[in-house]
Subunit: 275 residues, 2 copies
């Protein structure tokens, strides 16, 4: 398969997955007697035909305080400073990138915040990256076990090194200045460039697993009660989330460095937080 | 005067000013019928005698939602990566730094958030730096005029280039990803190393001017009424404040890179914000 086909297939998948996730989340809202829907915004990077994206945000629902589902496809030339850190970008800095990312901040503080992302990057090399992780404000042994075992299975089914992806996630989502992990981890991977068809199958299954596990975790807890103190605890946890995303997150830096749309990039920030 | 004396004089001044500012702010709270006082925390960088600081925070007052007044004196060796950007640090990376910083987030959204900082840094060179700036959520022509004219005067009285310091401030407190200034500016300066006694006099007068103008601005507006929508507007403005501090602020980076105390460094973050 040539690189143009790979680009087209991966981009179409990300678009399809975006619509599936949004449908799913809207039906969860409907189940909780809310009629809140996603609001869609299209953006274009520039007038030079370097792509853009579509981000969908649902706010003030009964399940979600704020959830963003963002799909974008951009191309261009990396700045000289930035390209040093990107495989295959050193010669001319040319890149193409398509991906989907989801960040969900829940109304009920007993339900963890969720993050999911998959992407296909093309420079003079090409690879997949992505991950799923949870940020609960309250620990829940069974939920944690369910979550990690599901990720373990999708890795195993696709002959991917779950342990390595889990460790990568733990190391990545860590706040050194707080000496705290951001949440309970999950999987994080990058530079996956073995057999393209197999990698693409893995990427699709990671997405389908997110669809599945996000619904299951929410459905299990959507009726769990909480009080003002619980909500407050979530607010402080969100403060840490913001610190991580603005101080350390590579995706945020990539976005701001590649002329991405600020609203789309910072959709990851919770609607409200405390320090 | 030798460098040890310069260190001792500047550090004593910063400590004195810290107590004056806290006294002032507590008396403003008292005037608004609150008995809220600063809570003081001492911290030490490590057991190697590389200094530490004392930070004072007042929360949930009738004037201040949160105000931090932080004084610290630290020394050590800069990491190789960091020392490239610091004058006089390239040979061995040794540094000594003392300074005071204040960030005030107001309860009344009609009163601007205030930031003030002065510092004395010693590597193989030595210099003063600092600044004052305001972040209002509502524009106020007269307040802005009063504020800038006061800063202009203190610069003029000390033969400092007000225009340069004002421009520096405007350029520094700017959010490129939002194409927005953080606030209405003020003055920002660094690497001041002319006649030490004159520079030190300027530093003291900048501090006294902050003492004076912060009180005047607060006193003028502490009884101005506001509603929920006004408070909400302030919450979104604070979101931008957080974006600036975590994405761009040099002081935050310096603090986290020099083994500073995280709580003291991030005391600049507002108690609550929205996106």
């Amino acid at each position: 398969m040539d690189i143009q086909d790979k680009k087209a297939y991966s981009e179409k998948w990300f678009s399809y997955l975006q619509s599936q996730i949004c449908n799913n989340f809207e039906s969860l809202e409907a189940k909780s007697r809310s009629s809140k829907k996603f609001v869609t915004t299209y953006w274009y990077k520039n007038i030079k035909n370097e792509g853009g994206g579509v981000y969908k945000i649902l706010r003030n629902g009964n399940i979600f305080d704020k959830v963003g589902v963002n799909k974008s496809t951009v191309s261009g030339i990396f700045s000289k400073k930035f390209r040093r850190n990107i495989p295959g970008a050193n010669s001319n800095g040319k890149y193409w990138a398509s991906g989907i990312s989801v960040v969900a901040h829940m109304k009920n503080p007993k339900i963890p915040a969720m993050h999911f992302n998959t992407r296909f990057i093309v420079t003079s090399k090409s690879w997949f990256g992505g991950g799923i992780d949870l940020t609960p404000s309250f620990s829940d042994f069974n939920e944690k076990k369910y979550f990690h075992s599901k990720l373990k299975k999708v890795c195993k089914d696709n002959k991917k090194n779950y342990k390595r992806f889990k460790l990568w996630c733990d190391r990545y989502f860590y706040l050194p200045h707080r000496k705290e992990p951001r949440g309970i981890g999950g999987i994080f991977f990058d530079y996956e460039n073995g057999n393209w068809e197999k990698d693409f199958k893995f990427i699709r299954e990671v997405g389908l697993n997110f669809l599945d596990l996000s619904s299951n975790i929410i459905l299990k807890k959507m009726k769990v009660s909480y009080n003002k103190r619980d909500k407050d605890k979530q607010m402080y946890k969100r403060g840490r989330y913001i610190e991580f995303n603005l101080l350390y997150d590579r995706g945020t830096k990539f976005g701001l460095n590649s002329g991405g749309n600020t609203e789309a990039i910072l959709m990851s920030l919770p609607p409200k937080a405390k320090w």
